[in-house]
């Protein structure tokens, strides 16, 4: 559904910016580990293939000198701090490399009392964007291979971190593909929208990668895994798929910070972030709430006001 139009004026993000960020992360990580103020640094190490990166928990200062930041650093590392991934980290303070969108997930987790701010050292990254899944991963980062979420990013510069690595290079105005898709869907009739989502959801193979990768899907028992009573059919049939995706979007409503990891890992390329974005937009309109901008104890659906909108209720 994407129509990529390359802007000729934008030559791509300069490599020196990534080198500067990498240097800053290495410097901070080595310093923190050598001083013993953290037990580990969660960051990115170069992947086995050239031009790739993989998440890593680094506890040795010598290894920390190999940490990198590149447009291939797509993962949201806050995932490794949740109780769904417990056992990965030893007890104690940890440092974590966070892009702006990852920071929103971190703020969400802090608000929900999953992690404590004073147990974290957050190495923020002034992030210019990352590669889109399945795009050409050769530098530089240009309009043709930047991720959809990065086109409309509002959190390039992370706020409230312990330090910020790098300075933001000049960025062009990207075509807001997601916003365009959203308004295109909004303009459709319900029947057309249903047909669109039916086609999307029917491709789902229920690998549940969207759940596994989501930093906010940390429940130890997911409602959708329960079978007595069964809320959502577990086999990959259209009925259960539709229910799963509706329930997933509902449970993330008012919590999702929009890191779009669900969409990135989806092997069937279902545009899951459109659902997340739509819910975020609705809650912004109704209750003026934006998830993950600050650690907040109460989300929009766990608090109320006496004069909330009830125009839809008879």
């Amino acid at each position: 559904m994407t129509t990529e139009k390359a802007h000729n004026s934008f030559a791509g993000i300069d490599q020196t910016y990534y080198q500067a960020v990498t240097e800053a992360i290495r410097l901070a990580a080595v310093k923190l580990l050598e001083a013993g103020s953290v037990t580990a640094v969660i960051g990115y190490l170069p992947g086995r293939r050239k031009g790739t990166a993989s998440p890593a928990v680094v506890s040795d200062p010598a290894q920390a000198a190999h940490l990198i930041f590149s447009p291939a650093c797509v993962n949201n590392l806050s995932l490794y701090l949740t109780k769904a991934k417990k056992g990965i980290l030893k007890k104690g303070r940890v440092a974590i490399v966070a892009k702006g969108c990852d920071l929103r997930a971190l703020a969400g987790l802090m608000g929900e009392s999953q992690i404590k701010r004073d147990e974290l050292v957050i190495i923020g990254v002034a992030c210019a964007g990352v590669y889109a899944p399945g795009s050409d991963h050769t530098p530089p980062l240009i309009e043709a291979n930047i991720a959809r979420k990065c086109r409309e990013c509002t959190v390039h510069l992370p706020a409230g971190t312990d330090l910020v690595a790098g300075t933001l290079p000049p960025l062009p105005e990207f075509t807001p593909l997601e916003a365009m898709d959203l308004s295109r869907l909004e303009a459709m009739t319900p029947a057309e929208r249903w047909a669109f989502w039916k086609e999307q959801f029917s491709r789902c193979i229920r690998c549940l990668a969207c759940r596994q990768v989501c930093p906010l899907c940390y429940c130890e028992q997911c409602l959708c895994d329960k079978n007595r009573p069964q809320a959502v059919e577990s086999s990959p049939r259209p009925a259960g798929n539709t229910a799963w995706h509706i329930v997933r979007a509902m449970h993330l409503a008012g919590r999702c910070g929009g890191c779009a990891e669900c969409e990135r890992v989806c092997p069937m390329d279902i545009p899951l972030n459109l659902l997340n974005r739509r819910m975020a937009q609705e809650l912004k309109e109704l209750y003026n709430f934006e998830a993950g901008m600050l650690p907040q104890e109460k989300g929009p659906l766990t608090q109320y006001k006496d004069d909330d909108d009830q125009s839809f209720i008879k």
Binding site: R193, W194, R203, P236, T242, L286, Y304, D308, I313
Partner: protein, 167 residues
């Protein structure tokens, strides 16, 4: 007093999720006052509207409901102080989500009916039933339920070609 029952071509299934303290008592009042309302509605009693999970609505549609009604105490009258306030926000969000996925929101009705409003209950139920009757059966979820569509189809030319290339 016998009520003449009109025959219709289509009798919609309406599922009503109601709170026990207000709407259930209101429906009870309608009954004890001998008010007539369509028997298309199946009432499910919950402790509070705050207990009604959006998943219940989804499941009702999947299992063949043509319309769903969610009804509870007026704001400020909740037996548990704030259950309906929370429900109000949750359903506002869920309604938007269903609308975005393409469900016709005319089939989903929310209302506040207190224990004294037997008449309002009759009105709400009758109106929803007639509205859904005019719209016809809810096809979308039923079609999904009947569908056995697998993500990967075995024996397609592409798969065969790929298989032969391995060998």
């Amino acid at each position: 007093m016998h009520h003449e029952k009109v025959k219709h071509d289509f009798e919609p299934k309406i599922i009503a999720f109601v709170c026990t303290w207000c709407t259930y008592a209101g429906a009870d009042l309608a009954g004890t006052s001998r008010m007539q309302y369509p028997d298309n509605v199946r009432v499910l009693k919950f402790p509070c509207t705050g207990r009604i999970d959006p998943v219940f609505i989804l499941r009702a549609f999947q299992k063949g409901a043509d319309g769903v009604l969610v009804s509870g105490c007026h704001p400020g009258d909740c037996h548990y102080m704030a259950g309906n306030f929370h429900a109000r926000r949750r359903f506002a969000a869920f309604r938007a989500l269903l609308g975005f996925v393409g469900v016709d929101l005319e089939r989903l009705q929310f209302s506040w009916v207190s224990a004294a409003e037997g008449g309002k209950w009759v009105e709400v139920v009758t109106e929803l039933t007639e509205k859904v009757r005019a719209m016809g059966p809810m096809q979308e979820f039923k079609a999904l339920e009947l569908e056995e569509q697998w993500s990967a189809v075995l024996g397609t030319p592409e798969l065969k070609e790929a298989y032969e290339q391995i060998a």
